[in-house]
Amino acid sequence: MPMAAEDIEAMIVAAIPDASVEITDLAGDGDHYAARVVSASFRGMPRVKQHQAVYAALGGRMGGVLHALQLTTVAPD
């Protein structure tokens, strides 16, 4: 079953409290999303680690129930 955009956002914010999360439903089917996550905690962190932090926040759903999430991570200026 696909995940709702609000659930994705809530899980990310629960794990990365300062994160600002912007979710776009790419196909309008509740199954293909893009997420832009901005957090000061990403500063100085390699991109792979930033993405791993978001995947960890999603607790194993990525690649499973959440099959398509195009992810962009940003540290604020």
Binding site: V48, H51, Q52, Y55, G60, M62, G64, A68, L71, T72
Partner: protein
């Protein structure tokens, strides 16, 4: 992941300077993300090898544990995990991917 699978992945990433684990083949990618990864590599014009994870269930699951990364495609350069297609695109746009390939063994040899 079995020790055998880990050993096979180890061997693959060490034997191929630029290796993409993907769904399908460069000519017939079976997923939009794999297709995007191929498009980036082709656009840069680097030589690469691919592993079709759909042909090997051991590697399909094993590579996720090996890289601690939940999705396919996955790019390895000189034995190091670089990232998935989103990171490839970010690095491509920032010019970092070109710089990375400038440092591969094959570039040095050529």
């Amino acid at each position: 992941m079995t020790d055998d699978t880990r050993a096979r992945i180890d061997e693959l990433v060490k034997a191929n300077p630029v290796l993409l684990f993907m769904k399908g083949t460069p000519l017939f990618p079976q997923c939009g993300f794999s297709s995007r990864a191929i498009a980036i590599l082709d656009h840069i014009g680097v030589d690469y090898e691919t592993v079709d994870v759909l042909q090997d269930q051991g590697i399909r699951q094993g590579i996720k544990d090996y890289s601690d990364w939940p999705t396919i495609p996955q790019l390895y350069v000189n034995g190091e995990f670089v990232g998935g297609s989103d990171i490839m695109m970010e690095m491509y746009e920032a010019g970092e991917l070109h710089a990375l390939f400038g440092g591969t063994d094959q570039a040095a040899a050529g």
